[in-house]
């Protein structure tokens, strides 16, 4: 992956110490995979064969287990999550790219202070803005609606998205802008003709990062969408696991279903994922 120095190959263990290290890493691997094993194994069991004493055992026969029921129950909410996460990700990525470009390349008096005020917004506990937020959304008549939640995710996503783009554009040499200016391009044309074509990697990083964040959000979903029909999948999954009438195999299958989109993003686009995570640590 990109964060590793190039030309480094994996080496085979030679010294006894290397075997100790490998052994320890394998133990850690087992620990990290254990909850995933439990989820998959329990999810694949039939309701009748999920018992407390056989939790660690493999399912006795292959079947869909709880997946059919879990998928049926969560499918509408998976759709809601997509309808929330996709527009919110696209809008905040586009908007954030403009902000990041201006904060990186067109500083004006006080722009660094403004940027710090913007970035602070990504660290606040959202509990401390929820009451006025809900009153304001009610005033705008979008409380309890999916577009309302999209607006919320776009606004509270602006700090992190602008930050990632600013760090990305700051690494593009000023000489490029200088050259474009000599050719007569202004702020807007430099962005559309020079910067945007260079910023595809940043768009990928930001989109993955934002999609994952928004998909995994729970607090906004549970407070802004009280109606179960429009709730995102994280909230529906939590309700599913809290109801006593639902079997554990269905809950576990539901957890896998709800985690699947972000898990797939991680598996196939992992290296962009890591870059977003590192860029989010302010410095980048």
């Amino acid at each position: 992956m990109s964060i590793l120095p190039l030309g480094m190959r994996a080496s085979l263990p030679r010294k006894p110490r290397d075997f100790v290290i490998l052994g320890f890493l394998i133990l850690c691997l087992i620990f990290f995979l254990m909850p995933i094993y439990v989820m998959v194994v329990t999810g694949l069991k039939e309701a009748t064969s999920v018992s407390l004493s056989t939790m660690w055992d493999l399912p006795s026969r292959l079947s869909g287990g709880g997946f059919m029921e879990a998928f049926q129950r969560l499918r509408p909410n998976m759709g809601n999550s997509l309808m929330i996460a996709i527009p919110a990700t696209i809008i905040s990525a586009c908007w954030g790219s403009v902000n990041g470009y201006l904060f990186a390349k067109w500083k004006f008096r006080g722009s660094n202070v403004l940027f710090a005020l913007l970035v602070f917004g990504m660290f606040i506990p959202y509990q401390s803005i929820l009451i006025p937020l809900i009153l304001f959304l009610e005033f705008l008549k979008i409380y309890g609606t999916i577009p309302g939640l999209v607006v919320v995710h776009v606004i509270y996503g602006l700090p992190i998205v602008s930050l990632i783009f600013r760090n990305y554009f700051a690494n593009i040499p000023d000489e490029i802008i200088e050259a474009a200016r000599i050719d007569g391009a202004g702020l807007v044309r430099i962005f559309t003709k020079v910067m945007l074509p260079l910023s595809l990697p940043a768009f990928v990083v930001v989109s993955i990062f934002q999609f994952t964040n928004i998909w995994n959000d729970f607090l906004f979903g549970v407070t802004i969408l009280p109606n179960p029909q429009s709730q995102p999948v994280t909230v529906a999954l939590n309700n599913l696991s809290g109801s006593f009438s639902v079997d554990w195999n269905v809950v576990m299958a539901g957890a896998i279903t709800a985690a699947l989109p972000t898990a797939l993003v991680y598996i196939f686009l992992g290296r962009f994922f890591i870059r977003g995570l590192l860029a989010g640590s302010v410095k980048g």
């Binding site: 490998l22 850690c28 660690w56 401390s128 302010v282």
Partner: protein
């Protein structure tokens, strides 16, 4: 910070000259537009900044107002409660709030120790680039991509006292061993156990008598331990990735030089590499620290408030007071304290980062 004019007056190094030239080019008045490009930049940024001003700063101010108000029923009442700050006084008298603060500090301390300690250890072990290191790294970071709700549900099942870990304890013969030594069999209640371990009340009470009359035990709540393990499972990979990125910036020559000077492999890391990683440790601790001060989803899905508020935290307190009990002023007051705790670590961090530029 130097003012632009001071910089222009002192064109010392060639780098400075370039910067001045660029500044001149950028500031050159444009013929076509009505505004200079710098003004245009501020104008284009203003919608986003206005929204942030409203949705972050004005909303925080309103929340502070609510926390000082009489609003404690469904009916909105923004009149200021007398005496000023009475809701805060009331909250800080609540044993439940004491438990909240204890839990969030214990959680933060233990979770940071575990995730940063193991994150650093794993990064260093993977740094040897032994066979399979990319697989190990990808698996260790994987939980980071999951929702706290998924993590909470999986670990709640694992720490269910009737199954999960306790079956493993039996199955691996640990209980036979303990009984053989004459001890009672181990059957921890985990998330259902209200016990508080390592209670310091008597000890601290000797130093500071009011602590003796406190209604909560100052120690590590048993039920919080599974939650800490689940959180560390999810976020150790983040710390590891930060350290792997940090290790890539420590020059290999530095390590080689230390080895040539006769340092053991252990010393190469403790004396040379880890001190170089201090800035990474600070960043990681602050980011994970603010996550853990805000922790809500994981506990909500895994244990809720727990037995005797053993896993209750401010994030849950705010949610319950605001949305279940409709005691808006109390919920707002707790959220203001959360914001203050987070600001205490984030503001100096942002300040230092912004000054460095």
């Amino acid at each position: 910070m130097k003012s632009p004019t001071a910089r222009r007056a002192n064109p010392g190094t060639p780098e400075r000259v370039d910067e001045n030239r660029l500044r001149w080019i950028k500031e050159k008045p444009r013929r076509r537009g009505r505004f200079s490009d710098r003004t245009l930049s501020a104008i284009i940024l203003s919608p986003a900044m206005t929204l942030i001003l409203i949705f972050v700063y004005v909303f925080i101010a309103i929340t502070v107002w609510v926390s000082l108000s009489n609003w404690h029923t469904m009916k909105i009442d923004m009149s200021i409660r007398d005496p000023l700050g009475a809701t805060y006084g009331q909250m800080f008298m609540m044993p439940r709030w004491h438990a909240n603060l204890r839990n969030v500090f214990i959680f933060t301390a233990l979770f940071l120790t575990l995730s940063i300690g193991f994150g650093l250890l794993l990064a260093i072990l993977l740094d040897r680039k032994l066979i399979g290191h990319t697989i190990f790294r990808n698996v260790f970071l994987f939980p980071y991509a999951l929702s706290f709700i998924v993590t909470g549900i999986a670990w709640r099942w694992i720490f269910n006292p009737e199954t999960g870990i306790n079956i493993l304890i039996d199955g691996l013969g640990i209980n036979k061993l303990i009984q053989g030594l004459g001890g009672p069999p181990l059957h921890p209640g985990w998330t259902t156990d209200p016990a508080v371990l390592f209670s310091l009340n008597n000890w601290l009470g000797a130093l500071f008598p009011p602590i003796k009359s406190m209604s909560i035990q100052l120690g590590i709540p048993m039920a919080l331990i599974p939650v800490i393990i689940a959180a560390a499972w999810q976020l150790t990979g983040f710390a590891m990735s930060m350290y792997i990125a940090g290790l890539a910036t420590v020059p290999h020559e530095l390590r080689e030089a230390a080895r040539i000077d006769g340092a053991t492999e252990f010393q190469v890391y403790t004396k040379v590499v880890i001190p170089q990683l201090n800035p990474v440790t600070v960043s990681t601790a602050i980011i994970l620290g603010h996550v853990s001060l805000k922790i809500f989803d994981l506990i909500f899905a895994m244990t809720g408030v727990g037995p005797g508020f053993a896993t209750d935290v401010p994030g849950i307190f705010v949610f319950e007071m605001t949305f279940k009990a409709t005691r808006y002023n109390l919920g707002a007051a707790a959220s203001v304290i959360m914001l203050l705790l987070v600001s205490l670590i984030i503001v100096p961090y942002l300040w230092a980062n912004m000054r460095k530029r």
